[in-house]
Amino acid sequence: MTTKKQTFKPDYNALMGFVVAAFGLVYLIMTSMMKRSALGDPLAPLYFPIALGSLLVVFGVIQVMRSDIKKSIESLKNLKHMNVQDQKINGMIGYTCVSGIVYALIFEHAGFVISTLLFMLSMLSLTNKKQHKTNVIVSVVFSLGIYLLFTRALGIPLPKMPFVGF
């Protein structure tokens, strides 16, 4: 039984076909709800999206028909028995996404240097655990270096820290 679990190769093709067809359908519904053009042909802005939505539904259905539905269901069930490493990877991806969202939220309020410093520290503490000194040095050098490169050398304005002007 253990051997079977270890050699099991997930196959999500049928499930993917369903998702793709459903997405195409939702896209088509949203297209049909769109405003009509006041200029020229009122449906002109809709033709291209209608063609795309329809194509995606067709591709999704073909994908389902060409795949093994039972295997997809089995693969889904097998997700419960996910190994520790895969769980860790998913956790790391989730942590990175949350860090990115927090970074976006504080970026303009805290300024580039502080928000980037915090983001880098957060990411480095995930990948380079316990090396706090290195993490701090890399974060400071990166955030200050990029700030100077962009604002001074490239002339791209970046949000400044409140009250400090840097």
Binding site: P45, L56, F107, I146
Partner: protein, 505 residues
């Protein structure tokens, strides 16, 4: 004879020490900017534009061209070393360049990339001198219908490139086209799929999609290697050069791809991305070793590198001779020329020969300088791989977010970046190719516009899409790109079946 005299006059301008300095500095700055995720040639030229404001038109255009070529070189460096293309044109360099680096062949990858770019750029510059007028006349024959069909052909070729998963390739392509429909429709002013978000009204920048899918997606994928302590990247490097065998495999793909890249680049809007992906696809179809493509085949890197540099030269043709920018970068350059009081177009060559021919001559010189600078510089850049992955990945993430901000000046793009990063990771896990999506995302807007213009011109009749020999040829090319791989696969499978049957017997 006139051409030769004009070219010599151009060289007398481009070889002036001041102009040589400008093309070198521009090239180096462009290489650095091009390496940063999200800062490709268009952004590079745009952000470095202020340094040209104090120069004369000739010097300004020569500097911008140096930045343009430098960014093309730089974009490929980051494609090879960290699997993150600087822009769309460097996308194809990730397919085999990165696997080569992962296999410990970073030196060969960097060298062939610089050599192919140099040769591609040089051949294209020769074509530019000889064929400028006829090629622009040919590009003028492309009406909206032909232009739409050209994009359909390019997309279907890219989708069908995904051997054994063509259907998934087409799904990916449709996803990309859907992304391109987000924003205010330029022809009617109707908001499409903006969900009330102000920032989505201007659409989703394809660079955000590229950075999300490639940079974030790659980091997500690399977490596995990080946890299992796998060490893929080489840390010691030898001489940055190619072996005789590698050169033998690369020379014809380089020479074949340069004219292709030049022609595609000369078509307004087609640009380096389409040129490099088409060159990659062509080489894969023609190769004796198609199974090596995507695993580190040197010709899979050489061909698109030659094509995208040739395309960057070709893209200057419609801008200089017709006043129509052939790519995003040339659009920025044209804007800068207009600011300097120069109107690009047919009269440029007669009214301002110094500018036109000085620029053409600087293409030869710029390409040579960039090749000379980039091969030794690659030795320093390649050290990026020596940085431990646990530090490099957060840096890649940080650069990606900064690049995204530089594109739009809005942190809202960060959410999209995370979203596309996740999408890229999922697509990799379910084996959906991402290249068709990226290309579709880049050309989607223009493709729809061309389609609607064609329909409007024909009063709603679809007959316009088969109304010219060129249109029919493009349809045949599209059909061929779908049918040919299937036929090829069937023929190559046959001997295996025979062997299997014999064994059973």
């Amino acid at each position: 004879m006139d051409i030769l005299a004009n070219l010599l006059h151009g060289f007398s301008i481009a070889l002036q020490p001041y102009h040589l300095l400008l093309v070198t500095v521009g090239g180096i700055l462009g290489t650095i900017v091009g390496m940063l995720p999200g800062l490709g040639p268009a952004t590079g030229v745009a952000v470095l534009l202020p340094i040209t404001f104090t120069m004369g038109p000739t010097a300004a255009l020569i500097t911008m061209t140096g930045i343009y070529y430098g960014a093309m070189f730089g974009g490929s460096r980051s494609s090879i070393l960290i699997n993150t293309p600087g822009d769309g044109a460097a996308l194809a360099a990730t397919f085999d360049g990165y696997p080569m680096a992962m296999k410990g062949k970073a030196e060969s990858a960097l060298a062939i990339s610089a050599i192919a770019s140099f040769i591609g750029g040089l051949i294209a510059a020769i074509f530019m001198v000889v064929l400028a007028t006829p090629v622009s006349k040919f590009a003028l024959k492309f009406g909206p219908a032909e232009y739409f069909l050209l994009m359909v052909a390019a997309l279907s070729m890219t989708a069908s490139m995904s051997k054994g998963k063509m259907l998934k390739g087409f799904m990916s392509m449709v996803f990309g086209l859907m992304i391109a429909t987000v924003g205010i429709d330029s022809m009617s002013g109707i908001k499409r799929f903006t969900f009330g978000v102000l920032e989505l009204q201007t659409g989703i920048d394809f660079l955000i999609v590229i950075i999300g899918i490639y940079a974030l997606g790659e980091v997500f994928k690399s977490f596995k290697a990080l946890l299992s302590g796998q060490k893929k990247a080489q840390t010691e490097f030898g001489r940055i050069w190619v072996s005789k065998d590698e050169w033998k495999r690369s020379k014809w793909p380089i020479l074949r791809s340069a004219p292709l890249g030049f022609i595609i680049g000369a078509l307004p809007g087609a640009g380096g991305t389409m040129a490099s992906l088409m060159a990659y696809n062509n080489e894969k179809q023609m190769s004796k070793y198609p199974e090596e493509f995507g695993e580190g085949a040197i010709e899979g890197l050489a061909a698109p590198e030659s094509a995208n540099n040739a395309a960057s030269v070709g893209a200057l043709i419609p801008m200089l001779t017709l006043g129509i920018p052939g790519s995003g970068t040339t659009a920025v350059m044209m804007g800068a020329l207009l600011m300097l009081g120069i109107q690009p177009g047919p009269l440029l060559f007669t009214q301002h020969p110094d500018i036109a021919w000085g620029l053409i001559a600087s293409m030869f010189i710029g390409n040579l300088i960039l090749a000379v600078v980039n091969i030794p510089l690659a030795g320093i850049l390649v050290r990026v791989l020596a940085i431990p992955a646990k530090i490099l990945y957060p840096i890649v993430l940080g650069l990606s977010f900064v690049g995204a901000y530089a594109i739009s000046n809005s942190p809202v793009e960060f959410y999209l970046l995370v979203l596309f990063g996740l999408l890229g990771y999922i697509m990799k896990n379910v084996d959906i190719p991402t290249a068709p999506m990226i290309l579709a995302c880049i050309v989607g807007g223009t493709m729809e516009q061309s389609f609607r213009q064609a329909i409007r011109l024909s009063d709603g009749s679809l007959g316009i899409f088969v109304g010219s020999g060129l249109a029919i040829s493009l349809i045949a090319l599209t059909v061929g790109s779908v049918v040919f791989p299937s036929i090829k696969a069937r023929f190559t499978k046959k001997p295996e079946t025979v062997v299997a049957l014999k064994k059973e017997a």
